[in-house]
């Protein structure tokens, strides 16, 4: 969060305005990463973030069968028992891996949107 605030150069703004800008960033990035995909793909992603275990499991098996051995998954799963929110590691892992798999140029896309928002910060004043 602090990194994004710093990247956008909005440290001096009120928290509410910062959040509004970050929401804008997330929304536009989200539209960009989903906008080129089919309805079926988007529905699949919705199911994943909504915690549909069947979809999550099948997607991981099909696309990343060795996910349980990855450092990312193991770190996300660590401490689950004591996590008050009980956020399933496979849901978080699949949500991020799905984004990455379906957007090979993600870094460039996000960077461009960030730059555009930085140029138009006055519109959030």
């Amino acid at each position: 969060m602090d990194d994004i605030i710093s990247e956008l150069g909005i440290e001096a703004l009120e928290p509410a305005k910062q959040q509004r800008i970050i929401d804008e960033l997330n929304m536009r990035v989200g539209e960009a990463v989903l906008g080129h995909l089919s309805e079926e793909q988007v529905r699949e992603y919705e199911a994943i973030i909504n915690g549909d275990q069947e979809v999550i499991t099948s997607w991981l098996q099909a696309n990343d069968p060795g996910y349980a051995d990855t450092i990312a998954y193991q770190q996300l799963a660590e401490g689950y028992e004591t996590d008050p929110d009980k956020v399933p590691a496979d849901k978080v892992y699949a949500s991020m891996a799905w984004i990455e798999k379906n957007n090979p140029n993600l870094g460039k896309v996000v960077a461009e949107i960030k730059e555009d928002i930085k140029k138009n910060l006055d519109k959030f004043a």
Binding site: M27, G30, G35, Y67, L76, D83
Partner: protein, 568 residues
């Protein structure tokens, strides 16, 4: 012939002649003796020894052992260089100790030599001490300077040094937009005071002839130093009891690297270059590498361990010597052996460190609380452009798509951040993204920044621009962006159905209804209403996607106490 007074020169007796000779010899011997004394010829060189049986650094013995044996004469208080270009040195032990109070001395032999050279070279000694550009010093260096001032009894200088850091931190904490908190400021000053205590201990340990009482007083001035009123430190700490080689300092001993504990996984992480990392609890190192003379890393720079110090509270610190000879203090958490560094630099460890650090921030985006808050707050980008002219069905499609996009965007920004900041390690983050086994570099990722726009990229760009014409994006045609997902028939409200019935039908414990009814009313007045008796009623209208999601969330919540956050 004039008469002249007779002169009576009685010839000296042989005895008188001998007496004169002896007196002259005595005078000569006295002069020679005095010169030799002043030159330190008869000084004891039995100084404190370190673990290597060498004279301890910064002691007169060490200085004496390396100084030139001739070329210096001392006449009263004046020093004269003889012997052409012979390098000078200080004379007696007393002179050596006295010069430690001069501004050129930094407590080591080389600096003492420079100071002397300055004197005998006829240069006017600059009152501004070398190495006292406090503004340019980090807290460790300032602490050493403060300890030096303490040893000289110069409490005013100690105040100045502390104030330098105080002003620096105050400026930082009061700078608009700073991430430094007031707590950080106080912590920084507390760490500095702690460092001063250790630095004083180091100096006391350096001249281990210290009488125990004096040494203890010096170490115990921690609080007083912090208050800039060090009553005990007014008196110079001087080596007054030669021969007392006790290494007892402040009730503790100069540490021999024996009993040690684990260094902890946090070594080197998140350490500020200018601020020492004080351990959370008193710790003792267990690493065999933590021995005087061994090379370790201090914040990425190779240093040599000098002395090992243990503070009054048991905290272990190290005096480490940098490549340029300067000495700084470091805590255990700041140090890292070569082996530890190599392990930490391995891709596996770096990725682990990344996930450990980022996990909380990432997982938060997938908690029910976060998702519910994002999906139900009215004044967000989700509802932008939706007004009374938008049909219910269209509005729900738009909002459904937007909240999915909002969460996808949050995840995407995180993943993109990983890609950008971990270029060489990103292939290890997700197996699925690359289709490769873990540990095999993924060419797709490394090519992210160099590829041109492909048809696929163009599609992304088109999608971006379709909704990014400006911040004030208007309503989006749901037919072009929203997936057409049929509503779940279970959410159809039947006539006269209430909240209890709905929750029962959805399999949600009715206790959850009791807990959340008022929040649901606040957030979804189109679906709920306040009944005359004070209860919350359910309107016989379609349940939109947002409410469906919230109800699903309430039903899946593993925590019976989960509640929607009331709108403030």
């Amino acid at each position: 012939m004039s008469e002249q007074e007779p002169t009576f020169e009685s010839p000296k007796s042989a005895d008188h002649t001998e007496l004169d000779r002896l007196e002259a010899t005595l005078l000569k011997k006295k002069f020679e003796l005095e010169q030799n004394e002043k030159f330190g010829k008869y000084d004891s060189i039995e100084g404190p020894l370190n673990e290597g049986e060498q004279f301890m650094a910064n002691s007169h013995a060490a200085y004496h052992a390396q100084r030139p044996s001739e070329g210096i004469v001392r006449d009263g208080d004046a020093l004269h260089r003889t012997g052409g270009s012979a390098a000078g040195a200080f004379a007696s032990e007393a002179a050596y100790e006295a010069q430690k109070g001069n501004p050129y001395n930094e407590g080591d032999v080389a600096n003492a030599g420079r100071y002397y050279d300055g004197l005998i070279g006829g240069n006017e000694v600059n009152e501004a001490p070398i190495g006292t550009d406090y503004e340019a010093m980090n807290p460790r260096q300032l602490a050493l300077e403060a300890a030096k001032a303490n040893e000289l009894g110069d409490s005013a200088e100690m105040n100045d040094i502390r104030e330098t850091l105080n002003i620096r931190l105050l400026n930082e904490v009061t700078t608009p937009g700073t991430q430094m908190t007031e707590e950080d400021y106080h912590e920084g000053m507390a760490q500095y005071d702690h460092l001063v205590t250790l630095a004083i201990q180091r100096r006391v340990g350096k001249t281990s002839e210290q009488p125990v009482a004096t040494a203890a007083a010096a170490v115990d001035t921690g609080e007083a130093i912090a208050d800039n009123a060090p009553a005990d430190s007014e008196a110079p700490v001087e080596a007054t009891v030669a021969g007392d080689t006790s290494e007892v300092v402040g009730g503790d001993t100069i540490d021999e690297p024996e009993a040690r504990t684990d260094t902890g996984a946090a070594s080197g992480e998140a350490t500020d270059d200018s601020a020492p990392t004080k351990p959370e609890a008193a710790t003792e190192p267990t690493e065999s590498e933590r021995k005087p003379g061994n090379i370790v890393e201090l914040l990425g720079t190779k240093v040599t361990i000098g002395q090992i110090l243990r503070g009054p509270d048991g905290t272990v610190a190290y005096e480490v010597i940098e490549e340029d000879g300067s000495r700084v203090l470091a805590y255990e958490a700041d140090l890292m052996s070569v082996e530890e560094r190599e392990e930490k630099d391995s891709p596996t460890e770096r990725i682990k460190a990344f996930w450990k650090k980022s996990k909380g921030f990432i997982v938060e985006k997938f908690t029910l609380g976060y998702m519910s808050a994002k999906w139900t707050i009215e004044d967000t980008v989700i509802n932008r452009g939706i007004d009374h002219t938008t049909s219910f069905e269209d509005a729900e499609k738009i909002k459904r798509r937007r909240r999915t996009a909002l969460l996808a965007g949050a995840a995407a920004v995180i993943v993109a951040g990983i890609v950008l900041k971990n270029q060489d390690a990103v292939a290890h983050l997700f197996n699925g993204g690359s289709g490769l086994d873990a540990g095999v570099p993924n060419p797709t990722h490394t090519a992210v920044a160099t590829e041109g726009l492909s048809a696929h990229d163009q599609a992304i760009a088109d999608a971006m621009h379709s909704g990014s014409s400006g911040v004030e994006t208007g309503a989006v045609d749901p037919s072009t962006v929203a997936p057409n997902i049929a509503p779940d028939a279970a959410f159809n409200v039947t006539p006269n159905e209430g909240g209890y019935q709905l929750f029962n039908r959805l399999g949600i414990p009715t206790a959850v209804w009791d807990t959340n009814a008022s929040s649901l009313l606040q957030r979804f007045p189109q679906n709920f209403y306040s009944m005359d008796g004070g209860g919350v009623g359910l309107r016989n209208v379609p349940i939109g996607d947002t409410l469906q999601t919230v109800l699903n969330g309430l039903g899946k919540s593993v925590d019976p106490a989960f509640t929607l956050t009331p709108i403030q």
